[in-house]
């Protein structure tokens, strides 16, 4: 067991053996290190002003990921190099991102600027070349700027990301990689004491022991939700168990029949695998949170906290996913829809851990569609999300799995609607009507700040119609943004 966390900061290996378990990385940077270049804008991971980059060894390369320091716990940086805005300009020479930002007049008040520079710095090292405008806006979806209107930032990014990777960090890549590789030791980490600790177990067994012994401990994966309990609800979090180092939880099995995602797999890592299941899943994932949230947040965390509006759950329910759970040595599987019992309640015992998800692949005859409706296209929580898997035999619907988010206290299947579709002809819209009407029996949505109940009910019907229209095939355009990476279906 290791009684400290170890990471690299300002180019130096750091070891910290005493800290409050709920200290955020931003607090540590600003208040303890007095590194004030990283800003606090919203304190909830939605504005990106606090973006820093975590670099980690991944095989024989370094993966650079942007994270929101305001809701990341200090303990979670174990094993990483923490790169902040103060690190970028070497010996007074601006990084290519910084130089381009100055050249293009891409800062006005300057408060969001360090976060934007760091998001682009991560993209500088990670983005596939040539970099498209869409890739740039995607990497900036989690960075709010209120002054510039973004155009000069996009121009600066386009210019700085046009060339190959050549900066002081890439030039020292080998040394940095060696230093990063020296950090992990596959040991369980526990900083603190029995009453107050930050723990990051290395194995599933230790994890399950720990959570069973401390069922009241806060289990975090990305902390993209739990971080807000600290910063907004001001809850005391004396015992924190982080899943990040449990190797078994970060497994991805890209099988022929199904995709398995360990619960600790981040959205960023899952994205390319989910994208290969269906183009709509790719769009959904790219609109899920922001690059920062996807780099921290995990598949398992998103499921385990049972958000009624979680964007992933309805899509995975429609695809027929199952969830895997473990309490001590007791392992069980559930259909994902059965995991969500009620608002804020899941079928999970105290101390029980979500270990992973299995998502069956689409087989011939199966068609998938998912639509997210939100006030803002990117980085917004859906007012509703409809996911549809329709199985066709010839032109007849033989099976339907339909799930919605934002329409009930949990992500939920539309069972009456599904039943009403069986036997309908996909090319006869008149046949769909009973199913469209059944939606009102499946759901009684509520009004809130995102949308009214009437709008939700109304658009749920529209989305069903849209999914069926698309699956039936149409010459006219059905969506504002084309499905996945496919061309317009005109």
């Amino acid at each position: 067991m290791r009684r400290s966390i170890r990471f690299i900061f300002c180019g130096q290996a750091r070891e910290i053996s005493s800290f409050d378990p709920s200290t955020t990385l931003l607090e540590w940077l600003r208040e303890e290190m007095h590194a004030t270049g990283t800003k606090e804008g919203c304190n909830e991971g939605d504005c990106g002003a606090c973006t820093v980059v975590l670099a980690r060894a991944e095989g024989d390369r370094i993966r650079h990921e942007p994270v929101n320091a305001c809701i990341l716990l200090l303990g979670q940086v174990d094993g990483a190099e923490v790169l902040t805005i103060e690190d970028l300009a070497a010996n007074g020479e601006l990084h290519p991102i910084q130089a381009a930002m100055v050249r293009h007049h891409a800062s006005q008040c300057g408060f969001c600027t360090p976060g934007i520079v760091m998001s682009l710095f991560a993209a500088y090292h990670e983005a596939e070349r040539p970099v498209t405008r869409e890739a740039i806006t995607a990497c900036l979806a989690g960075n709010l700027c209120r002054c510039t209107g973004y155009r000069p930032i996009l121009d600066a990014a386009g210019e700085a990301l046009a060339g190959t990777v050549d900066d002081p960090f890439s030039r020292q890549g080998a040394e940095r990689l060696a230093a990063l590789r020296a950090l992990p030791d596959n040991r369980d980490i526990l900083v603190g004491n029995e009453e107050r600790f930050f723990a990051a177990p290395a194995s599933l067994d230790t994890l399950c022991e720990l959570t069973a012994a401390h069922p009241e401990a806060t289990v975090i994966a990305g902390a993209t939700d739990a971080g807000l309990w600290i910063t907004k609800k001001l809850v005391a979090m004396p015992k924190v168990v982080a899943l990040n180092h449990v190797a078994a939880l970060t497994e991805i099995v890209d099988g022929e029949a199904a995709l398995f995602l360990g619960a600790g797999v981040t959205h960023a890592r899952a994205l390319p695998f989910l994208a290969r299941l269906d183009p709509d899943l790719e769009t959904l994932m790219l609109r899920f949170g922001s690059a920062q949230v996807r780099a921290s947040g995990t598949i398992g965390g998103n499921i385990a906290n049972g958000s009624p509006i979680g964007d992933l759950a309805p899509a995975l329910i429609a695809l027929g996913a199952s969830v895997h759970l473990r309490l001590r040595d007791l392992v069980r599987d559930l259909a994902l829809e059965d995991f969500f019992i009620d608002y804020g309640r899941q079928d999970r015992e105290p101390g029980e851990i979500v270990t992973g998800l299995t998502i069956p692949r689409l087989t011939p005859g199966r068609h998938f569609r998912a639509f997210k409706i939100s006030k803002r296209f990117d980085e917004d929580i859906s007012s509703l999300l409809g996911a549809f898997m329709i199985t066709l035999e010839g032109s007849i619907i033989s099976q339907a799995r339909i799930a919605f988010g934002g329409m009930a206290g949990t992500p939920k299947r539309a069972r009456e609607t599904e039943a009403a579709l069986i036997g309908a002809a996909i090319d006869t819209p008149h046949d769909w009507m009973p199913a469209v009407q059944a939606l009102d029996r499946d759901f009684q949505p509520i009004s809130d700040m995102r949308a009214s109940a009437a709008y939700r009910a109304r658009v749920a019907r529209a989305l069903l119609g849209k999914a069926l229209t698309e699956i039936a095939g149409t010459r006219s355009r059905t969506r504002i943004v084309a499905r996945g990476s496919e061309a317009e279906n005109a």
Partner: protein
């Protein structure tokens, strides 16, 4: 003496003075300053109801918490419990009456911010709730206002409406807007000797913060110094709204004798600070067969919140801009400033103007849709032109022929007519998606309509090494004001801009300043700084003439040198020579905008020094099944006069446009029936992100000199571009109109997917 200034910095697209510090994270904001030893932190206790009487306040549990140093309530205030800008209607701490949900009731001062925040939630606040007036409908029922109703009348609108060939009546709902400056409200107060207080405040109005801190603490103004080096955004949200936090921090510093910092958490910042006023505007318009307006009668119902704040000027500006760019031969423009139990609405870029312009543009669209004409043609036919150039408030639009060529040029460069045809063809073949396009103009009056605010001061020093220190009353919030003023001063002395040091705005250097607002920052402070620099330069020129043996008329300053005929010396040499010859190298400068004569009582005079113009053409696509919308292209042609700095001006135009885009599309403030703001963080309140901006987003400057003698014939640019985004709203209406042409569209702002779908439903419904 002829102006022999050589322009080497002015008109150049120089970078923001802090650009390198921004990108390296080395530009300090107040929370980044090293905290003085022993700094304490403040958190606020907030009212749990929107309206009622405070019965009891039990703070003992808070006082008992380890780390809590003091708990402050209204009873601790030595001066006045009033942080209002003028009318005395905004208590710093609610005393007896609770006026809005989350109104500050007390403050906790503690050793750490987390202790203070946690402790502040432990109060027992006992209050007797009363039914709050939350929205405009509630306020209409109570009939309560924060200020008297006010109207302009021009001609005889009633008979003119009756006599018009066509009449339309309608109501337009216009939402408010949260500023969402990235740096939240913050103040750090440091006690000085003899009871003095020094306050770092993130404010657009240091002088007002100074006066309010002095008022609350019972001190003379000279005992309080307020400083602001830079803000992380302001947008009007730190014009009157910064004083409250500065005053609380100052009181805490006075009581504890320690430096005290108050930084609002983002959710509190949303709940505790005013926003753009939301409106309901009811109109009747009469017009002829071509859509030329004969008479316009509009009543603007503004939701002001619980106090007056700046609502007098804000809603006046709505009225001043109710014509936008169009001649209204007969008009009644009325306004009501409604009182609600919500946070007091305040200045926000455009200061009420955008609401007046939006209403007018919606009316023009309704006229065009009714007549089956292209809205652009109706716009053009209604523009001010010679002979039709008197506004409803009696001011002549003396340069009224400026706008027509701007619109024509944009119509050509944006291919408006061809695209309208392409869009019609697309819509005919597309049942689900519909496109829309609109080209809308803006005319915006430049000057504070409160006349006395149109003044500025500056202080310039030349040191004996030839370096220059510049200070003026304006504040830097990202708009590049300091850069523009430094450009002006650099050229005045003929030195490279690097030789001009920009310093923090301080009430100790320039007193009695106006807020940096009303787009007037460069006009006022640029001129004041130029005057200060000119005073020094004239003294230096006389010294140079004497030293170089040339007439003073022959002396000029350029490229770091002072030249007279063949002779020359460096600027630094001259500065040194002046010092040795005992020539004063420091001067103040003072400027007051000439020619402004607005009389609010008589509703006559000239409220504006000049107008700024612009036009935008936007195209959108909407999904008629879901109400989703995407902005596809934007072309803008905007008038900055002769630009002082084209890069900064383009930045203002783009940024203003996108802020307007957010106001009109994604940014929705939702209050519940109890008066609680439900959208109090960026998770629920959505300002535009990078992907909301179209790839085709082109801004061009209309680079013609200002008719008036503003600084180097430039024009103010801070606010007018917000209203260019109305082209997007109008384009959405155009797309909605496509589902059933011939019927005016009723679309509320913001045009969220739900608002668009509602408008589509009305458009499609069989009943007319």
């Amino acid at each position: 003496m002829p102006d022999r200034t050589t322009l080497n910095a002015v008109r150049k697209p120089l970078p923001h003075d802090s650009a390198i510090r921004h990108v390296t994270g080395s530009a300090p904001y107040i929370d980044d300053l090293p905290e003085p030893q022993g700094t304490l932190h403040i958190a606020l206790g907030l009212a749990p109801i929107a309206r009622g009487r405070l019965v009891a306040l039990d703070l003992d549990a808070i006082r008992a918490k380890p780390g809590v140093v003091a708990v402050l309530t209204a009873a601790d205030i030595p001066g006045k419990n009033d942080v209002s800008p003028a009318l005395g209607d905004e208590p710093m701490f609610a005393d007896d009456e609770i006026s809005f949900h989350a109104q500050p009731v007390f403050a906790v001062v503690a050793t750490t911010r987390r202790i203070a925040r946690k402790a502040a939630r432990r109060a027992r606040i006992e209050a007797v709730p009363e039914l709050p007036a939350v929205d405009i409908a509630d306020a209409l029922e109570t009939g309560e206002t924060v200020l008297p109703d006010y109207a302009f009348l021009r001609g005889t609108p009633d008979p003119a409406l009756k006599g018009a060939p066509h009449r339309l009546a309608g109501e337009i709902e216009i939402g408010g807007q949260e500023h969402f400056y990235l740096e939240g409200q913050i103040a750090l107060a440091i006690p000085g000797e003899g009871g003095d207080i020094f306050v770092h405040s993130s404010t657009q109005h240091p002088s007002e913060v100074q006066h309010i801190v002095a008022r609350v603490l019972g001190l003379a103004d000279h005992a309080v110094t307020v400083e602001c080096r830079r803000m992380g955004g302001g947008f009007g949200g730190k014009e009157s709204q910064a004083s409250h936090w500065a005053a609380i921090a100052a009181l805490a510093a006075q009581v504890t004798g320690k430096p005290c910092k108050l930084r609002l958490d983002r959710d509190d910042d949303f709940a505790l600070t005013g926003k753009r006023h939301d409106f309901r505007s009811r109109y009747t318009v009469g017009f002829d067969d071509r859509g030329v307006i004969a008479a316009y009668d509009i009543e603007h119902l503004a939701r002001c919140g619980y106090s007056a704040d700046l609502s007098l000027g804000v809603v006046d500006r709505t009225m001043f801009h109710s014509d936008n760019a169009y001649f209204l031969p007969h008009a009644r423009i009325a306004s009501r400033r409604l009182k609600t139990n919500t946070v007091s609405n305040t200045a926000f870029r455009g200061f009420g103007g955008p609401q007046g312009v939006l209403a007018m543009e919606c009316v023009i669209d309704a006229i065009a849709h009714t007549l089956g004409r292209d809205p652009l043609d109706v716009r053009k036919d209604n523009l001010y032109r010679t002979g039709r150039d008197i506004t409803p408030y009696g001011m002549q639009v003396f340069d009224c022929e400026t706008l027509s060529p701007i619109i024509d040029a944009l119509e050509r460069s944006s291919r408006y007519r061809a695209r309208r045809e392409e869009i019609a063809a697309f819509n005919a073949a597309s049942p689900i998606l519909k496109r829309g396009i609109a080209l809308t103009p803006v005319k915006f009056g430049i000057s504070f309509t409160l006349k006395h605010l149109n003044q500025a001061g500056a202080l310039v020093h030349v040191y004996s090494d030839g370096s220059v220190m510049l200070n003026h009353g304006g504040t830097e919030m990202g708009q590049g004001l300091n850069t523009k003023v430094a450009q002006i001063v650099a050229d005045e002395f003929g030195v490279p801009i690097e030789r001009v040091k920009i310093t923090a705005t301080s009430t100790a250097k320039v007193p009695n300043t106006a807020p940096t607002a009303a787009s007037s920052g460069s006009d006022l402070n640029g001129m004041a700084a130029k005057i200060a620099a000119r005073t020094i330069r004239d003294r230096m020129a006389a010294e140079a003439a004497r030293r170089l043996g040339m007439p003073v008329e022959a002396v000029h300053f350029a490229h770091g040198r002072v030249l007279a005929g063949e002779a020359s010396m460096t600027f630094a040499e001259l500065a040194k020579a002046c010092y040795l010859d005992r020539i004063a190298l420091s001067s103040t400068g003072y400027y007051a905008t000439p020619g402004i004569t607005w009389d609010r009582q008589q509703q006559t005079g000239r409220p504006f020094f000049y107008f700024a113009y612009g036009a935008a053409c936007s195209e959108v696509v909407i999904d008629t099944m879901t109400g989703e919308m995407k902005l596809e292209t934007v072309d803008i042609l905007h008038d900055c006069g002769h630009s002082l700095n084209p890069a900064i001006d383009i930045g203002q135009i783009e940024g203003g446009f996108v802020q307007g885009l957010g106001w009109l599309t994604t940014e929705e403030l939702v209050f519940d029936g109890e008066g609680r703001l439900r959208t109090h963080a960026p998770s629920t309140y959505k300002i535009p992100v990078a992907s909301d901006i179209p790839a085709h987003f082109r801004v061009t400057l209309w680079d013609e000199p200002n008719h008036e003698d503003a600084i180097y014939r430039s024009k103010a640019v801070g606010e007018p571009p917000v209203m260019l985004a109305i082209s997007v709203f109008s384009a959405i209406a155009d797309a909605i109109h496509a589902v059933r042409p011939g019927r005016p569209v009723t679309l509320r702002a913001p045009a969220t997917p739900e608002a668009i779908l509602d408008a589509l439903d009305r458009q499609r419904s069989p009943a007319a």
